[in-house]
């Protein structure tokens, strides 16, 4: 009874707290600009199936793909066992399904156990890749103490989860022989069937019960801890990879998003539209491109939260490969960090974060009047933005279809269109296109090449 009460309080509390945090993430994502995505849901679901569920893009690199698949499969299938843990916990029963579905139960739990062993191996391999082999993409400059610790914490959490499963099942198997009334027969479990007796055989019943309960609680608490850790961690990708893949661009990667407001302005300048096209002088001059997270699309922000910092993008970035400062992964991490900063400030409700001219009694802080004197440019330097060749290697590489190129281009637009800044080398190119229709200022006629042989 006491256990049931503790279980209920802990579980419901954990879910409540996690819900609060996930709502905040949702709020943060929608700090971005509205963007309608309603085209071709068939192709979108196909991407979710192949790329998120099927992990198609992971298999460009076989070793991590197989290891990752073990952990992923174990995670997905363990959810079935978790259902039973919740039923047992709330209703004070033990292995609720064991005597109800018989052979199927043995099969499912055995399946979970086999995958868990594979996941155990994979977790150690991942720890080794990060900490012993020091795979270069895990060692880049943006991988400071927290991203590194975050990655290791997740792996340790996974180990705890697996230790929990095997102590719980192993002790249970031995107990089934001692006290069949309280411990229903699970059939011969693929791993615990022999590992249980091997490790725990001959121990007194009291100790076995403690081991079983320890495993059960360890499993549950690790799951609940993970749930509440996700919003702070790169591990959030286990959830957001799915929506991110669904909402990813379907157009050819080379297509840049049009800016209708600029197009219409230029059309009216060129006399191509029939409307008067006169801009009201009182109107505030519009800002173009992206200066801060508010100017990015919510899809860019979703991408930042979906990033698990694997660094496949950075590993293929031609600028990064040749020692430039740009790292597409850092761009996504910076966007997330900036979102978190804005989020904390918004939650504080402090007047100092309201734009100066809008501060007044009764005005409360919102995304519309937010101004903390900072922007994404405090996180992402111009040098990084200027180093991009728009080659789309990062976009192609991302296993969950994040697009780091899009925010880079939006920030370039802000720099050029709103600030009239940017590399001075580009000015002659702009002027030349504007004046002579060519990227180079060349006195020759465009047709001259046809007159020579």
């Amino acid at each position: 009874m006491l256990q049931q009460i503790i279980f209920s309080i802990v579980t419901l509390g954990a879910f409540w707290w996690a819900t609060q945090q996930f709502m905040k993430i949702r709020r943060n994502i929608f700090l971005g600009k509205d963007e309608e995505v309603s085209d071709d849901s068939g192709a979108r679901w196909r991407n979710v199936l192949l790329i998120a569920f099927g992990q198609k893009k992971m298999f460009k690199r076989w070793i991590p793909a197989v290891l990752h698949f073990f952990i992923y499969a174990a995670f997905v299938i363990t959810q079935i066992e978790l259902i039973e843990i919740f039923i047992d916990g709330f209703f004070g029963v033990h292995r609720f399904f064991a005597d109800k579905i018989g052979g199927l139960y043995t099969f499912i739990i055995s399946f979970i156990e086999i995958l868990s062993v594979l996941a155990f191996v994979a977790t150690f391999a991942f720890l080794a890749r990060r900490n012993l082999l020091k795979i270069p993409r895990f060692m880049k400059s943006e991988m400071t103490w927290w991203p590194k610790l975050d990655a290791n914490l997740i792996l340790f959490g996974e180990l705890a989860l697996l230790v929990g499963i095997f102590s719980m099942n192993g002790a249970d198997v031995v107990l089934q022989g001692l006290d069949p009334e309280h411990f229903p027969d699970t059939g011969f479990l693929a791993i615990s069937g022999w590992l249980g007796p091997l490790l725990f055989g001959g121990l007194p019943e009291g100790i076995l019960v403690i081991i079983e309960r320890f495993g059960w609680w360890l499993h549950l608490l690790t799951v609940l801890a993970f749930l509440n850790y996700l919003p702070k961690s790169k591990h959030l990708h286990i959830l957001l990879a799915f929506p991110n893949t669904y909402f990813a661009n379907l157009q050819p990667k080379g297509e840049m998003e049009n800016m209708p407001e600029v197009m219409n302005e230029v059309k009216s300048m060129m006399g191509l539209t029939e409307d008067t096209g006169e801009m009201s002088m009182e109107e505030e001059l519009p800002e173009f491109g992206a200066k801060d997270i508010f100017d990015l699309s919510w899809r860019n922000l979703l991408g930042a939260y979906s990033c698990t910092e694997c660094g496949r993008c950075t590993a293929v970035c031609p600028a990064n490969l040749t020692g430039k400062k740009l790292s597409p992964r850092k761009v996504m991490m910076d966007i997330r960090d900036r979102m978190e900063e804005v989020s904390t400030n918004l939650d504080s409700g402090h007047q100092k974060f309201i734009q100066e001219d809008k501060r007044a009694a009764g005005v409360s802080l919102s995304k519309e009047n937010y101004d903390d004197g900072k922007s994404l440019f405090d996180y992402i330097t111009r040098e990084e933005l200027h180093a991009c060749t728009t080659c789309n290697a990062c976009v192609e590489a991302c296993p969950v279809m994040i697009n780091p190129l899009d925010p880079i281009l939006k920030m370039r637009r802000y720099e050029i269109l709103t600030e009239s800044a940017g590399p001075s080398d580009w000015l002659p190119m702009f002027t030349s296109i504007e004046n002579s229709g060519s990227v180079w200022q060349i006195p020759d006629e465009r047709v001259k090449w046809t007159q020579e042989d």
Binding site: M259, L272, T390, R413, M429, E445
Partner: protein, 253 residues
């Protein structure tokens, strides 16, 4: 185009030359090669000549949407005037912009990259290649970002190479993993940001590792970058950089 229009004629297809093709001495050679092939295949084509403007690709990628819109809308007006429906271009940047970005501005055309067009001519037997010209020669092919990843065209250029009787040796990074030459995103028009190395050097080193005698490209900017890299490695006597059109033109029957 203007001359033909004056005669009341409308060619089947417009050949979009682009800025590099028009003004860059090395790229001009590619354009002449391509025109020779078009003539040999008796294709009814025209160019816009002095009425052609930059498609706006580098301005847009640098962030200058105003300049992009100005030049793009100007081009769309010109293309409308001549009722152009079908365009072939030997530049993947022009190809991408015309094909993917002009529709949102009101310009809809069937746009074909010259490697696709050449593959079609070869398949239809409109041109054919004399056997043996490249026999035993190793060629490596450099995927441009704007034909490859940006538009998913990897096979047409390779099909052409397979018809040239040569041995295609792929670089370590090819197709979807192809490494950029370093020119895209308006990098062609500015100094590199500080770093250890130029991107074209990294790519050329990879090409040299294949021991190929010819580096085949599909883009005038890649052509410049790869040639510069080969020269910087002092391999210009041994390794030639050619556009696919040039490889065909010298060996047509």
């Amino acid at each position: 185009m203007a001359d033909l229009a004056a005669e009341g004629k409308k060619p089947e297809i417009l050949f979009w030359v682009g800025c590099a093709g028009s003004f860059d001495a090395r790229a001009q050679k590619v354009m002449r090669a391509f025109v020779k092939i078009l003539n040999a295949a008796e294709i009814d084509f025209a160019i816009l000549g002095n009425e052609e403007s930059c498609t706006g690709d580098p301005a847009r990628r640098a962030g200058n949407e105003f300049v992009f819109q100005m030049t793009a809308l100007q081009n769309i007006e010109t293309l409308k005037m001549y009722e152009v429906e079908k365009i072939v271009t030997a530049c993947p940047h022009c190809f991408n912009t015309l094909k993917n970005e002009y529709p949102a501005l009101g310009g809809n055309y069937e746009v074909i990259h010259h490697t696709q067009f050449l593959q079609g001519l070869l398949d239809d037997g409109k041109i054919s290649i004399a056997g043996g010209a490249f026999e035993g020669k190793k060629i490596t092919y450099h995927d441009s970002c704007y034909l490859g990843r940006a538009n998913g065209i990897y096979e047409a250029p390779r099909e052409i190479l397979s018809m040239l009787d040569n041995e295609l040796v792929e670089m370590k990074r090819c197709r979807t993993n192809g490494l950029c030459c370093g020119a895209g995103g308006a990098q062609m028009f500015k100094e590199d940001e500080p770093g250890d190395k130029r991107i074209n050097m990294e790519r050329v080193e990879e090409a040299l590792e294949t021991d190929a005698e010819i580096v085949a490209v599909n883009c005038p900017f890649c052509l410049t970058m790869m040639q510069d890299g080969v020269t910087a490695n002092e391999q210009q006597e041994k390794v030639m950089v050619y556009d696919l059109a040039e490889l065909i033109v010298n060996n047509m029957k």
